[in-house]
Amino acid sequence: VSAVASPYGPRAEAGPPGLAAKLLGFCEELRSEGVAVGTSEILDAFAALEQVPWESRDDFREALSATIAKSQEDRRLFELLFERWFFRAAEAEAIEREVGEGEQRHEGAERLDIDDLREQIRQAILDGDDDAMRDLARLAIAAFGRQGEGSGVVGVDVQRIRRTLELSAGTQPQQGEATDGAAERPPIDRDQLNRFERHLRRELERDLIERTETLPPSRPLAELDRALPTSPTQDLAAVHRAVSQMKRRLATLGHEQRGRRKAQAVDVRRTLRASLETGGVPMHLRYRPKRPRRPEIYVLCDVSTSVTSASVFFLSVLHALHDSFRKLRSFVFIERISEVTEIFEHERDFREIARRVSSEGGVADVSGYTDYGRVWLEFLTEISDDLDPRSTVIVLGDARTNGREPHAEVFAQVAERAGRLFWLNPEPKLYWNYGDSVMAAYERHCDGAFECWTTRHLENFVNVVAGGVPAAD
């Protein structure tokens, strides 16, 4: 077998033929997308495949995914790659061997009765019968897709065929057009229609590949836009993921060592059981393990204009934090500080939260410029009594004081009272302390200051907090 680049992008080595090689190649590709596929998983996959019939595509896929893709994120990548890999593997084979269905493929298309086809498709969709849907999709393409109207863009053709078939979700078909009994036909569920559209899309792609005899180039999948999310809902999931990891780390780290030994409670049960070694005389005391205390978190978030683009991101971080921590109080500030815990607790919809924070926060006085000094003063007076060594304070802001008094000594007091204090700055480190940024004055008092404008930075922050190594950028 030659290692000549195939027409469908780089495929390193064709390797020996057979399923094992294909499957290994597939796992290799999953790994390159960041799914942790271990040797034991591959062995399991082979073991599982021995148990299921291969002619069923669903069983084959499920058996693989149950043994290989073990989280929801992995599952998503798996689905995407599975389609691409196994579908293309078959098509690539066909091109290499110059196997084509030729005219046979659409045999019988002329004899089709359109109304009949519509009815059959509708029925197949309602029954959720995948095999029938696939066959009918091919017929539909033959009937409507090949009459010189094909646009060449798969997505467009799918919609055109769908319209021609008068399929739409949730509504009744038009009465005049359709055959008898139309009135009682149940509406089509959106999910089911999507399923049919997927079949259409696949068959159209197959068609396209057969005509052009090349496969579309394969691209790596995981190139998600990880920069500052412009649309919050889009990246909310990623932020939530990072924060849920942070939750665990904050919950279990750092605090165990605090407190005095004499405060430990004797575990009577274990002490007595241990006494068996000394003939029933309790000679060694056993203590209850210290459970890490639940952290109390205070988050202060700058929402001024200088961080407008970042505050969307920060608000989504806050949103995610509120999902994870019960004892969380959040504040937003510009010139003054205002507690918004209520809003986050009672509102789920992110856009609504953003609206209410801006309308009810009441944080801007006159100028709309951040006044960090005043914010610390207010924060300290408002909640100084609640701050104690087990509280964690997280500040999200750019430390640009607009030339006003930074009151670093007040900030130092906050840092002293709180157990830990972290600063997340939405500006690259390079810009810190330039212009009116007084980051250095505050940084001295922080347990850590981090640049943070992408979810990746957020993950990094979580890692560092957990005592791990910061990920290289």
Partner: protein, 296 residues
């Protein structure tokens, strides 16, 4: 290890589960089938209330095995999950056998007789094959997960004083997780993974029909449609399948003919249980129901 008769095909597993009144979808049936054939634990993840725990119960009913359940919580330790020495009995033994030598007593008190088996131990030691359900594994700490590893891969437990205890029959192990934290790679590696999600319209209707057969067809459809509408909202706690069934039964008791705005508001608290959620649902769904031409 005595291999009990594993099902011969996926379809057979599915039927057996259905006979145990659990309508499994394709992947749930396939993973259950594989778990029995390969002798591997199943890790079930998914949102709350999609029937993760129920799957284990159904597997137990379908295979005629006893169900042993370990409910996880923060601070669960091996003394409560694995085994513990029965120290009262041990003390008695020491005092009763005053004349025998220390060596005898020492060898004696750390024997089977003085062992209190906790759920995991019970599952391993049981002479009959069982289904072991480890519920909400994500509630425990990572140390506990590590402790499970030996059990999950080799079905054995090592007790320092006694040595290894191996399973005499292969248990079906089901672990559930609400995904409140990432589980360790090591644990995942040993399991088959099953993601359960809310069922689609048709399947949920079948489930409701199974549990509330007296509800009329149109009302069942309407009910499931409304529940799905509610789930689409961004709620703190979306309604579970169990709550759908409860609601269906409530409607039966109320003798409702159709779900109009009034019925909905009266019985809404069955599927929505959070104050802020109730407001949201009343506003978004309740309003829509009031529309006059909405006959299912």
């Amino acid at each position: 290890m005595a291999e009990t008769q594993a099902p011969a095909s996926v379809a057979e597993t599915k039927e057996a589960l259905a006979a145990a009144s659990y309508l499994a979808d394709e992947s749930a049936a396939l993973v259950s089938f594989l778990a029995q054939r390969l002798g591997k634990p199943i890790l079930v993840e998914g949102p709350a209330g999609v029937g993760k725990t129920e799957l284990a119960k159904a597997l137990s009913r379908a295979s005629g095995r006893a169900l042993i359940r370990l409910q996880c919580y923060e601070g669960l330790d091996e003394a409560k999950a694995l085994y513990e020495w029965n120290y009262r009995k041990q003390l008695l033994r020491i005092q009763a056998g005053g004349e025998s030598g220390w060596e005898d007593v020492h060898g004696d008190i750390f024997s089977d007789e003085f062992l209190l088996a906790r759920p995991l131990m019970q599952a391993i030691a049981s002479p009959e094959p069982v289904v072991l359900l480890i519920d909400e594994i994500d509630k425990t700490d990572q140390e506990f997960e590590a402790m499970l590893l030996e059990l999950l891969s080799d079905f054995q437990i090592t007790i320092p004083e006694l040595g290894q205890v191996s399973a005499s029959s292969m248990p079906i192990v089901v672990l559930t997780s609400n995904n409140s934290r990432e589980l360790t790679e090591a644990l995942k590696r040993r399991c088959l993974y099953l993601w359960l999600d809310y069922p689609d319209l048709e399947r949920e209707m079948e489930i409701v029909r199974l549990h509330a057969p007296d509800l009329s067809e149109t009302l069942t459809r309407r009910l499931v449609e409304v529940v799905r509408m509610v789930r689409d909202l961004d709620l703190k706690k979306p309604p579970s399948i169990a709550e759908t069934i409860d609601w269906a039964r409530t409607l039966l008791l109320m003798g409702a003919e159709d779900i109009d705005r009034e019925t909905f508001e009266q019985s809404m608290s069955i599927i929505v249980k959070h104050r802020t959620d109730i407001d949201l649902v009343a506003e978004r769904v309740g309003m829509r129901l009031s529309a006059p031409t909405q006959a299912g």
